[in-house]
Amino acid sequence: MTDYRIKGETGEWEVVIGLEVHAQITTNAKLFSGAATAFGAEPNTQVSLVDAAMPGMLPVPNRECIRQAVRTGMAIEAQINKWSRFDRKNYFYADLPQGYQISQLYHPLVGEGSITVEADEKAGIPAPKVIGVERIHVEQDAGKLMHDQHPTMSYVDLNRSGVALMEIVSKPDMRSPAEAGAYVRKLRAILRYVGSCDGNMEEGSMRADVNVSVRKPGDEFGTRTETKNVNSVRFVMAVIEGEAKRQVELIESGGTVVQETRLYDPDRNETRSMRSKEDAHDYRYFPDPDLLPLELDDAFLAECRDSLPELPDAKRARYLAAGISAYNADVLTAEVEAARWFDALLDAGAKPVAAANWVTSELFGALNRMGRDISDSPVSPAQAAELLGLVADGTISGTIAKQVFEKMLETGDGAAAIVDRDGLKQTSDTGAIEAEIAKVLAANADKVAQYKGGKEALFGFFVGQTMKAMQGKANPQVVNELLKKALG
């Protein structure tokens, strides 16, 4: 259990957090119309007659959206409801052409499931924690109002109108900003593995409504507030921290928390009230009479299940079993592109532990320097496997491998070719090495004396000097052995 607490004047407070994550389903077409869904298109160019709610237009469910939501549900081992239904949520707003949003209130597509966040001591998560997911339903997104186009008028862009969203509703199971952050990151990873959402929070493909309340540990849940449309992990954590503090201060100064909707202002890092429960809408939900209930057959469900890739938890377990460290396993599985790249590297014959170390340090370091993404890595998994193979079979040392990798990045040539061309093959020729060792020891007689006098730390110095004299090409193991003998 997390021991995250807000320290108030009356003692410690526990924070209770639930998240409703809206994830845009990755498809070429909207939930109920054939219109395209490209991000960043010119305003009102991705709008069909249905999206603009012209008279007589009707919604027709897009099967691919349903499929992706079902696959997502399966990925969190949730109950899949073979019978679900769409409801209308009625309210007036200029970005909502129909005057209602088609959503699922009474019978969602996906029922209860769960997501496990990994232990993270530093973040105050001492052990893995299972966060419950209440439901996933699919619904339409609204359009966008633009207030900066005209001095007295607001403009409406309907490109997003009707885009398919999954609303993934957690249980109020999180108890710290770190847990909430880990939950969002893990959920994002799962969505990206499944391919049901690109997880791009900057473009609004994923955003969270953050429900926060506080209580004295052991008490009943307090009154919660909901902060809408928070669009980064950092902001989610900031909202929780700020909102929990605000609530504690409010209660301790004699006030009461009101159930309300709040907005987050990232520039000022604070939330402000948007509307309270009293003036909350009566959405008049009722089953959408334009749509029949959604009934899923076994063949459809089987295809959804069969098409699921290996998911982060399974992949992580496989890496751990191969001897990869927990830290590296976390790093490698966090992003689906990195995991896929790494798996390709293993498939090309690289040894898991060495490969994991090399990817997380050498490759990620290089990509970082170049400002590139793993998906456009200049080195392919096959090329990397070739390089790691040369280290594994003793053809080159780890040090030389770094040089070879740099040259691979510069020239695009293969590792073996570079080693051959530049004569970087490491030597185990004991005669040559012994000759250099003799020279090193002769030139450093004082240090040899100190070493023999008990300053054993100098051994590394002799190794370094020898390697330097050998231009790095000596087999380090052989150097060690011969040095020990010479100094012994």
């Binding site: 012209m54 008279p55 052409p97 005057g99 008049r284």
Partner: protein, 493 residues
């Protein structure tokens, strides 16, 4: 030469095919009738050029030997169907001047079948009404008059009152209608014509201005059963753009028409015998029973025990759906926008909707909003849905012992304009016999069967099993052949 406007759809089709007359002659004759009948106010927009263009094409197609099912037949289009390039208003100020850039599936099918359009027919605003008195474009007048020495203007029924009036007055041989709770059958009965609401889902709703989605269904109105079969064949069919569309082949209803009802059983629902109903209605009903017996059918009494709950349930479900369906008329994107000086968004909504919707539409939006609100939803909407299920079960049970059901279409003959406008409940009661089949999604038809003592037409309703339009049409044909209904309104307009 015969007056071409007295011909039925089948007669026009066959006569044109045989070369007895040209399609252009037919179109010109109907165009002239339309132009000469302003007093009926049946059309909101007249499109003689559309009818003529289709007629020219039909004549060319005949010359080329490539006739289509409705080549040479001009029809009227209820102004609830969106027509590409032609104003579509649903008879509401809200959509004044709205010109769609798309064509409803049903109207497109009719044009593809070679039909031409004489114009857009008046109706009750957003199809809400039973007398065609809620149109923003004025009342439609029935061509019929009571034979009582008076000259009262009569209602053509509603909501498809423009369609019924125009057909009865020979302004068009056939027209489209839509039926949510009787809007094809009741106006057909009031004007001595024939109309069928097919099984829910037979005709695509795509491009039809929505009233109540789970009930709305398009269907044909014409002068006889055969014409309804011909029209329906060219209106029905699966449409992937309508998620509630039936994915079934369209039968060849016309070819299978048969008035021989041997081996068929007709159910007579005892709950439709209302206390104090016009004796002419009961007499017509009894005559209808005799006609079906004469056609070879057996007759049994059946029970539809939840009938009395149908009308209240309908007036919860239909307004609930309408309150949501009509939310899109907000002044933001098309149609009327009323933007008072310095007004914000909420003011614009309020002003636009106050100005754009007529009183009956507002009444239903308010009823619908009320029955869906928190705290009332279960008591009204959920309860009404349960009633709907029970009514469907009533019909299932009845159809275990009979093939079709015979009942009056409406509880009265046409009433005078203004007679019921002050009392919405009295107006709603006019749909009492029509609404149950709508709630159950069943095919139902009205055929003219008699004149009442005032000389006004009365209609008999045949309700069939889901998908059994053929059974309904055949029973309708049996009545038509025996009723010998040839009366027509004398021209006064």
């Amino acid at each position: 030469m015969t007056d071409l406007t007295n011909l039925t759809v089948a007669q026009i089709r066959d006569g044109h095919r045989a070369g007895d007359f040209s399609a252009v002659e037919v179109a010109e004759a109907f165009n002239a009738n339309v132009a000469g009948a302003k007093a009926l106010n049946a059309f909101i927009v007249e499109t003689p050029e559309h009818a003529l263009a289709a007629a020219k094409q039909a004549d060319a197609d005949r010359a080329a030997g490539s006739l289509k099912p409705l080549s040479g037949v001009p029809i009227g289009m209820k102004d609830l169907f969106c027509t590409n390039g032609v104003q579509t208003t649903a008879a509401s100020h809200m959509l004044g001047g709205f010109v769609p850039r798309y064509e409803s599936t049903v109207s497109q099918k009719l044009w593809d079948a070679g039909a031409g359009m004489l114009g857009k027919l008046n109706l009750d605003q957003f199809a809400m009404g039973s007398s065609n008195e809620t149109s923003y474009f004025g009342n439609v007048i029935s061509p019929w008059k009571r034979k009582d020495g008076g000259n009262a203007a009569l209602a053509p029924g509603g909501s498809s009152g423009g369609s019924s009036s125009a057909i009865a007055a020979r302004l068009c041989p056939a027209a489209t209608g839509t039926d949510t709770g009787g809007s094809i059958r009741q106006p057909a009965a009031f004007t001595g014509i024939t109309g069928i609401k097919p099984t829910y889902g037979r005709c695509s709703r795509w491009g039809i201005v929505a009233f109540a989605s789970s009930l709305d269904q398009a269907g044909p109105m014409a002068r006889d059963v055969r014409d309804c079969a011909i029209m329906l064949e060219n209106m029905a069919g699966f449409d992937p753009k309508d998620a509630t569309s039936l994915d079934m082949p369209v039968p060849n209803w016309e070819a299978a028409l048969s008035s021989d009802l041997k081996g068929k059983t007709v159910g007579i629902p005892k709950e439709y015998r209302l206390e104090g109903i016009d004796p002419d209605i009961d007499a017509m009903w009894d005559a209808g029973i005799a006609m079906l017996k004469d056609a070879g059918a057996a007759v049994v009494e059946i029970s539809l025990p939840h009938t009395k709950y149908a009308l209240p349930a309908y007036y919860i479900i239909a307004p609930a759906e309408a309150s949501s369906n009509l939310a899109r008329y907000d002044g933001v994107r098309y149609g009327l926008r009323d933007l008072p000086d310095g007004a914000g968004l909420q003011d614009m909504y309020a002003a636009t909707r106050a100005d754009g919707f007529g009183p009956e539409v507002k009444r239903r939006i308010m009823i619908g909003t009320y029955v869906l609100s928190a705290g009332f939803y279960d008591a009204y909407y959920t309860q009404a849905q349960k009633v709907r299920t029970l009514i469907a079960r009533d019909f299932d049970a009845a159809f275990a012992v009979c093939d079709v059901i015979l009942a009056p279409t409406a509880p009265s003959a046409a009433f005078g304009l203004g007679e019921k406008m002050a009392d919405p409940l009295a107006m709603y009661l006019n749909d009492v016999f029509a609404v149950p089949a709508s709630l159950a999604g069943l095919p139902a038809m009205s055929v003219p069967a008699a004149l009442n003592r005032e000389g006004l037409p009365l209609g008999l309703q045949i309700i069939g099993k889901a998908f059994d339009e053929q059974g309904v049409l055949n029973a309708g044909l049996a009545i038509e052949e025996r009723a010998g209904f040839t009366a027509r309104a004398e021209k006064w307009w």
